[in-house]
């Protein structure tokens, strides 16, 4: 009896430790989100979502100013980056997991991890040399390429581990039916690994959506909407993390509160993407 009691106490104590640990993990997040909300909610008005930024004198003289071009720019650049990164990242992950005997795989794995650990600003620099210099101007496309360098290694790693988790017997079953190997991967392994892969995409997307460094010298920033929708791709584009940075280091308190509001929008954007992706995968699973 005595030992039973001791075990229960022990159990309770460990439970308590776990709860404390969880709270400690969540606490910084809650503090950050709470602080951003408190500081920024005042600057969220209809102008914020409908007007262009223009010059700081607009904010100082109470003339309409906002970040409509920044919000649209973020959506365009991030989605374009995802469009570039998904085929490459999933392809690399597939190769790592499904063709383990391939000669290039050890090198690929090392290079992928190196790319993942590389400072994001270097990826921006690479995109600058690769896209900005030949095009002669900063562009949303260059920003998307820089962000795709952030996404690719994460997607590749996540895809690899998601595919690896699927038992080999499933592949053998497919092969026994005479289906070619690539077809087996796409038709049987990938649907089973979908949840893991989508999680990887989400992680990559959320990570890239918050990056300002690769965008500073690629998408560069713009105080206005482009004059044509293609301008979001071929001209300098404003994005939330980069604009947040420049608003924060500006000498105007009006711009500081706009920066907080930009942080709220960026947070909401990432959360929204998470929710959409979760709902979408859940529905597909039922079918």
């Amino acid at each position: 009896m005595k030992s039973m009691r001791r075990r229960e106490i022990h159990n309770k104590m460990m439970e308590g430790v776990l709860v404390v640990a969880t709270v400690l993990v969540l606490l910084p997040l809650l503090i950050i989100v709470g602080h951003v909300l408190v500081e920024g909610v005042g600057a969220l008005n209809s102008d914020f979502f409908t007007q262009e930024l223009g010059s700081p004198s607009r904010a100082l003289l109470d003339r309409p100013t906002g970040l409509v071009h920044t919000i649209i720019g973020t959506v365009v650049v991030d989605l374009l980056a995802l469009a570039i990164a998904v085929p490459i990242g999933i392809g690399a992950g597939m190769m790592l997991s499904e063709y383990p005997e391939h000669l290039l795989n050890p090198t690929l794995r090392i290079m992928n991890d190196t790319l993942n650990g590389m400072p994001a600003i270097l990826k921006g620099l690479f995109a600058f040399v690769l896209i900005v210099k030949p095009m002669g101007t900063f562009s949303g496309l260059a920003g998307a390429v820089a962000l795709s360098f952030v996404m690719i290694p994460i997607i590749a790693r996540a895809t690899e581990s998601a595919l690896m988790a699927i038992p080999w017997t499933i592949r053998e079953a497919g092969l026994a039916l005479g289906i070619p190997r690539w077809r087996v991967v796409i038709s049987t392994v990938m649907p089973a690994a979908k949840i893991g892969m989508v999680t990887g995409l989400l992680l990559a997307f959320a990570r890239a959506a918050g990056e300002a460094a690769p965008l500073l010298f690629t998408s560069f920033g713009n105080n206005y909407l482009p004059d044509h929708w293609l301008g979001f791709i071929f001209n300098p584009v404003d994005t939330l993390p980069q604009r947040l940075y420049s608003l924060a280091i500006s000498p105007y308190s009006e711009w500081h509160s706009m920066g907080w509001a930009a942080a709220i929008v960026l947070l909401a954007f990432v959360v929204l993407i998470f929710i959409i992706a979760r709902v979408a995968t859940r529905d597909r699973m039922k079918l």
Partner: protein
């Protein structure tokens, strides 16, 4: 499922290639109905003025011409100008001889430094109870920033301010911790009035300060000064005015006590200028000029077609139109925003330089200037 995935793949590839092909911009669309985007970047200090000019110019052209100016610092502005990723750069330091030569070799034409506005730096301080403008001399500022004059009631300060009852407060020197054009102008002034400062500290966008605490940006210095009784720092005049800080007058080379003002700053530049306007005129010889001021230059290539960032003749012409507007009509925006206007001497030199701007050998600068009716401009 497979099909879906393949469709997505194909769609992605197609859309990317489609978008890429649409990017070819027809070089000879007529400017009348075509919208034009002009990209510039550089110095932070003139950014409020340039972006306000961009706002007004956009309204003026009925949203046809959009000037996107990003403040990335003078160093960044020069860098991107050399990299040819921006149509114009903006800097509080003119291009060095080395850079000028390199550009001449690469593009077959000069790089022009065109003064668009003026930067003025004032000593700001925090002495509770004293609202008068204190008077400083160059020598005194050197003594303070060297850390040798350490109390506000020092005889050297009292001598220049006989009517002020100076407190026995310790002086805290505040300087910029980041690289900045403001620091460049400030230290250039100290170097010109003191051989010792030039030898020991020199002038640059950031230097090894003999004493004091650092603040990041104009706001960092202002924050430290405002929160520290007895502090002295340096800020641009517009920033000091905007934040209601006390700032001092400075005795200039001619021996006059100059209270910082737009007029005194403009007057400082009203001197014999070289044809390329590349001159630092801190400690100006102008009799009523404020001695701690400098130009902020717009950087453009003489051969605009050699700048990769400019893709067509019409774009180049729109850039010149904006530039001409900035140095003429656009100057009326200066005073309300806390900037000094460029003097007539600089305007004359600017027009000579603009007249030389070319597109594939054609003098399009002259074409633009011929459109302007200088009689009707506000003086």
């Amino acid at each position: 499922m497979v099909r879906n995935f393949l469709y997505i793949l194909i769609f992605t590839c197609l859309s990317i290639s489609l978008l890429t092909s649409c990017g070819e911009i027809d070089p000879d669309r007529t400017p009348a109905d075509q919208r034009v985007g002009i990209l510039g970047a550089g110095a932070t200090f003139p950014a409020p003025l340039i972006t306000a000019m961009a706002d007004d110019y956009r309204d003026l052209t009925k949203r046809r011409v959009t000037v996107n100016y990003q403040s990335i610092g003078s160093g960044g502005g020069i860098r991107q100008f050399i990299e040819q990723t921006v149509m114009f750069g903006m800097s509080e330091a003119f291009l060095s001889d080395q850079v000028m030569e390199d550009i001449e070799r690469q593009t077959g034409g000069k790089a022009f430094n065109i003064p668009v506005t003026l930067a003025d730096v004032v000593p700001t301080y925090n002495l509770p109870g004293i609202r008068q403008n204190l008077v400083f001399s160059g020598e005194l500022l050197v003594e303070i920033f060297m850390g040798r004059v350490t109390r506000w009631n020092d005889p050297k300060i009292a001598e220049l301010n006989p009517d002020v009852r100076l407190p026995d407060t310790a002086i805290t020197v505040v300087h910029r911790s980041d690289g900045s054009g403001t620091t460049n102008i400030w230290t250039s002034y100290l170097s010109r009035v003191s051989d010792e400062w030039r030898g020991r500290v020199g002038f640059a966008t950031s230097v090894n300060w003999p004493t004091g605490i650092g603040g990041n940006g104009n706001e960092g210095v202002a924050g430290a000064v405002i929160n520290t009784p007895g502090a002295i720092g340096y800020n641009s005049l517009s920033y000091a005015v905007l934040n209601n800080m006390s700032y001092g007058s400075v005795i200039n080379q001619a021996g006059n006590i100059i209270k910082p003002s737009f007029e005194a700053t403009t007057e400082a530049a009203n001197i014999e200028l070289p044809d390329d306007t590349r001159i630092l005129f801190t400690n100006t010889p102008a009799e009523h000029g404020y001695p701690i001021a400098g130009f902020a230059w717009m950087l453009v290539y003489e051969n605009l077609d050699h700048n990769n960032a400019i893709s067509s003749r019409s774009e180049a012409k729109e850039l010149i139109r904006f530039l001409v507007w900035c140095i003429t009509e656009g100057q009326v925006l200066s005073h309300p925003l806390g900037f000094a206007r460029i003097p007539d001497t600089a305007l004359e030199k600017n027009l000579v330089m603009i007249r030389q701007l070319k597109w594939e050998g054609e003098l399009i600068g002259e074409e633009v200037l011929d459109e302007v009716d200088f009689e009707k401009l506000p003086s």
